[in-house]
């Protein structure tokens, strides 16, 4: 049950996180109470939703997100997720959710073997979940990506499961919403840019909604996603 006042949303800060301040500001911008939570703690400061922000936790050394998932606070994040409460992983945060097994698959290096920062178009595949309540199925979003390891991979069996379960939240697409190799920036299987878990409370995506909550900064498509998280909290 929702306590009075603005919903409290935890943004976990790891050594090397660098989109944490952006996520905190974005949460506030869409009406939530943003609460910074240090990775070495053991609880989520009574927050009802969690954001794992982007960046280069532990320098992305070894594998993106691989070392961060062993931070003390992650036990609390896992419990939170397993209790069906909202969790959003952005970019490096998405990579962590994969490393933790809260979402299926793994990230390989981009097809170009290079870091890519540019706006991409994303087709919304699900709108029947609280986290995605402000999106419409088939809608095309425009958001920036900024990563070197966003090439989502899983075994054929897992890919089939993912598709059958409707676990795909966002796919890279053309401005008009078609799927097309040229519109897939990193080579991700089935152009997958975002996934949800079976219960629908854990969402991971490579693009950066927190960078697009004001038209002055290039658009507000990101606000819809963050609003979903805040209201689901």
């Amino acid at each position: 049950m929702r306590q009075r006042g603005r919903p409290r949303v935890a943004v976990v800060i790891f050594p090397g996180s660098n989109c944490d301040r952006d996520a905190l500001a974005a949460v506030e911008a869409v009406g939530g109470e943003a609460v910074p939570v240090w990775h070495a703690g053991h609880d989520l400061a009574g927050c009802s939703a969690v954001i794992l922000p982007g960046g280069f936790s532990y320098g992305d050394y070894l594998r993106a997100g691989a070392m961060a998932v062993h931070s003390p606070v992650m036990a609390a994040v896992r419990r939170h997720a397993e209790q069906g409460k909202p969790v959003l992983g952005i970019c490096n945060g998405f990579q962590m959710l994969l490393e933790m097994g809260l979402l299926p698959g793994a990230m390989l290096m981009n097809r170009t073997l290079r870091f890519i920062c540019r706006d991409v178009h994303l087709r919304v595949e699900r709108d029947d979940l609280p986290l995605l309540a402000h999106l419409r199925r088939g809608q095309v979003l425009r958001l920036p990506i900024a990563h070197k390891e966003g090439n989502w991979f899983a075994s054929p069996g897992v890919v089939k499961k993912v598709e059958n379960a409707g676990a795909v939240a966002l796919r890279y697409c053309t401005p008009s919403g078609e799927l097309d190799v040229a519109a897939n920036p990193n080579g991700a299987l089935n152009a997958i840019a975002g996934l949800v878990n079976g219960a629908g409370n854990v969402l991971g995506l490579m693009p950066h909604p927190e960078r697009r909550v004001r038209s002055l900064l290039g658009g507000e498509d990101g606000a819809a996603i963050l609003r979903g998280v805040v209201e689901a909290a």
């Binding site: 050594p15 090397g16 660098n18 989109c19 301040r21 952006d22 500001a25 974005a26 070495a40 982007g54 960046g55 280069f56 532990y58 320098g59 992305d60 050394y61 097809r111 170009t112 073997l113 290079r114 870091f115 890519i116 920062c117 540019r118 920036p144 900024a146 070197k148 950066h208 927190e210 960078r211 909550v213 038209s215 002055l216 900064l217 290039g218």
Partner: protein, 730 residues
């Protein structure tokens, strides 16, 4: 050879000191220094650290102004921008290391300039990089371009500071000596600026950050020696950057500063522990003691010589009060950083170091810093390149000429470069790379900070004084295109050997050009960097005085546009014809590197920029200044949204000068039809020509009913994208 062995003239010379300089050292000390002391003198008296050949000339720069908080002399310049904020910025070169190992050289260049900014209490909010490479078919060149771009990206991306601008240009004079100049802009509250000062005798010296290895020993002296095969021999261990540690350092240092735990702080840059400790002591008029045995070492058996001269990255020296040491160590521990108390500030103006219980050296601060040699090197006034008789320029196929220019490296789209850089981390980037200047919001405010780097080295080679002056003028125009008013300049002066009077003459002229123009525009030079000895086997690079300019938009209400949209009216603010002297048209199309490069006409530039600035702030125009390649190239750039244009020049103009002329301080403006009256009013008294409208699939330009250009936009864009396209492939 042992670290405490007595020095000799031979050793001094091997360290890059002259025999005369060694005699001065003997006289000042009244004794023979040991090897470690000699190494320290050699580092601090190197061109790189002492500016011994340039200092007398750099005095010509205007460095003060009503808003200047800190001019040259500190780690970076500080300027007030209102509402209690200051901006702190600097540009620095990492040319030689990047030629040896492009990836690590460029990466550690970015790391170094970031430290110069956050060491002063600022949060870095933008990075820019000004790059010069040789011909793409020169040996190793594509490898160098690729390595430098990856190095800049991997470091800045990981640290999480957006890389939002820069330049990339190509010329055979850089075949054996590329340029990598990195610029960083930060912001801080006016009352939390910190300085590199070891003040307050009794205060403690804390070493913070990565352990010290044998990296880059002699780096400072190498950056000050002509770059030849021999240099490769005495090559030190290449420094490897660790952006993760840097990111943690930034957060840790800012926390220490806001926590009131810092008296003075400085990064260990060139000549590592040596320059940081001596400079901090010198600025404070104090001295200090160091226990080198306590310095965290990465390798076994490191000597005082190595500990003092190592250039291991991601290290800081911090001064704090005795009763705050524990608190400092606690914060550093939380961030997982090594922090060790290594010494104490003393009143006696000398640095005394002990190692394994005995004195390693004792040196007077003044002799090393203040009394470092200064030279008035002989120089020859450069002769500005004159005009050459040009072939008949009537009835050419201008479309072919334009395509030739757009297919050449100097006009390559930089997209494959900057798409490897995180341009929007920080969620404050209003104008990303691709426009004339970058615009970023001060976090949590609507104050915009704009930055650009500019230098047309081709023009500087033809006429160093006017070329450098034009670089300043172009920077002012680029800022105007995003609505920003200049508040300060940093520079990175890249030249050949100062011991060559011709090169020294280029340097003196370029400094004069920058100084005069900054004075005219009332923009102070608050920081900068000189990089000499950019030459290989006697061939110097083009004189490349890179100008980095920072501007402010007090309140950003509209997102500046650099491309036009269907139906907008297109105006030329400026004369219909430009000058062909020193133009890209002569260089690329006619194969002539010929003058003259005109001087800057301050008054008209100032007025045009002011008008554009105001219109952009109101969101009334999309603006682009006319620089390299003239109006034709500016029109192509404004079409990069996929919308062409139908333009017509006034009767009687010379097609070549109208299409490809440069240097007039002109702008292209695109205006919604309804806003024309306001734009015309704002430009009253300035030359304003209505050229036509934006729209269609082609870029078309006519004069007197004759079609000069009629080219499909898509094709023109593809030509520009192709040149560096390989950079975005696996």
């Amino acid at each position: 050879m042992k670290w405490d062995a007595p020095a000799t003239v031979q050793l001094a010379v091997e360290h890059g000191l002259s025999r005369e300089e060694y005699q001065v050292i003997l006289a000042q000390l009244g004794r023979t220094p040991n090897l470690t002391e000699l190494g320290i003198f050699a580092a601090l008296w190197s061109e790189h650290c002492s500016y011994k050949s340039s200092r007398v000339h750099l005095r010509r720069f205007p460095t003060s102004g009503p808003h200047v908080v800190q001019g040259p002399g500190e780690n970076a310049g500080v300027v007030e921008i209102g509402a209690g904020w200051v901006t702190i910025f600097k540009m620095e070169s990492h040319n030689h290391p990047s030629f040896i190992e492009p990836y690590q050289g460029a990466a550690t260049g970015v790391g170094g300039i970031l430290r110069d900014i956050f060491t002063m209490g600022a949060r870095p909010i933008m990075l820019l990089d000004s790059l010069r490479f040789g011909a793409l078919d020169a040996p190793r060149m594509t490898y160098l371009v690729d390595g430098v771009v990856r190095g800049i990206g991997d470091y800045g991306n990981c640290v999480g500071v957006p890389t939002v601008g820069g330049e990339i240009d190509f010329h055979p004079s850089y075949n054996g000596n590329i340029l990598v100049n990195a610029m960083c802009v930060g912001v801080a509250r006016a009352d939390t600026v910190f300085y590199g000062r070891a003040s307050g005798p009794g205060n403690r010296i804390i070493y913070l950050g990565s352990k010290t290895g044998r990296d880059g020993i002699h780096g400072a002296t190498m950056a000050s020696g002509v770059f030849d095969e021999a240099a490769a021999e005495k090559r030190p261990t290449v420094q490897v950057g660790d952006p993760f540690t840097e990111k943690v350092l930034i957060e840790c240092c800012l926390e220490l500063m806001t926590g009131g735990l810092v008296v003075g702080i400085q990064d260990m840059g060139a000549a590592g522990l040596t320059s940081s400790t001596f400079e901090m002591a010198s600025r404070a008029g104090c001295g200090l003691t160091l226990d080198l045995s306590r310095v965290p070492a990465r390798e076994k058996g490191m000597t005082p010589y190595e500990l003092m001269l190592s250039e291991s990255q991601e290290r800081m020296v911090l001064v704090t009060e005795p009763d705050k040491v524990a608190a400092v160590l606690e914060v550093c521990g939380r961030w997982g950083l090594d922090a060790v108390e290594v010494g104490t500030v003393t009143a006696e103006p000398e640095v005394v170091a002990t190692f394994e219980g005995r004195e390693a050296f004792r040196l007077p601060v003044a002799s090393l810093v203040d009394d470092a040699p200064r030279y008035e090197r002989p120089w020859l006034k450069p002769v500005a390149a004159a005009a050459e008789t040009l072939p008949n320029l009537h009835s050419r196929d201008w479309g072919t000429d334009l395509r030739a220019m757009l297919s050449s490296p100097p006009f390559a789209s930089a997209r494959p470069v900057f798409e490897q850089f995180d341009q929007s981390v920080g969620a404050s980037t209003v104008v990303e790379p691709g426009a004339d200047a970058a615009l970023v919001l001060v976090p949590g405010t609507s104050i915009g900070i704009a930055a650009t780097t500019d230098c047309n080295a081709l023009a500087c080679g033809l006429d160093p004084e006017n070329g450098a002056a034009q670089a300043v003028a172009e920077a002012v125009r680029n800022l105007a295109c995003v609505g920003a008013e200049p508040v300060g300049v940093t520079d990175c002066l890249n030249f050949g050997s100062p011991e060559n009077p011709r090169v020294m003459g280029q340097f003196v002229a370029a400094v004069e050009g920058i100084a005069e123009t900054c004075r005219a525009f009332e923009v102070p030079v608050v920081s900068g960097n000189v990089s000499f000895y950019n030459e290989t086997s006697g061939n110097a690079i083009l004189p490349t005085p890179t100008v980095g300019m920072v501007g402010v938009v007090p309140e950003v209400r509209h997102r500046p546009r650099s491309t036009w949209s269907e139906g907008e009216v297109v105006y030329l603010l400026g004369p219909a014809e430009g000058e062909l002297g020193g133009s890209r048209f002569l260089q690329i199309v006619l194969g002539l590197e010929a003058g003259p490069v005109p001087p800057v006409s301050y008054e008209s530039e100032r007025r045009a920029s002011a008008a554009v600035r105001g219109l952009v702030r109101k969101g009334l125009v999309a603006a682009k200044d006319i620089s390299d390649g003239g109006l034709a190239v500016a029109a192509v750039e404004m079409s990069s949204g996929g919308v062409g244009c139908e333009l017509a020049f006034p009767d009687g103009v010379s097609p070549a000068r109208a299409l490809f002329g440069e240097w007039q301080g002109a702008f292209l403006l695109a205006v919604a039809a309804g806003d024309e009256p306001e734009v015309v009013k704002a430009c009253a008294g300035l030359p304003l020509i209505r050229l036509g409208v934006a729209g269609g699939e082609n870029v078309t330009v006519m004069v007197e009913g004759k079609m000069l250009l009629d080219e499909p936009v898509g094709e023109l864009q593809r030509l520009r994208e192709r040149v560096l396209g390989w950079l975005s492939e696996a």
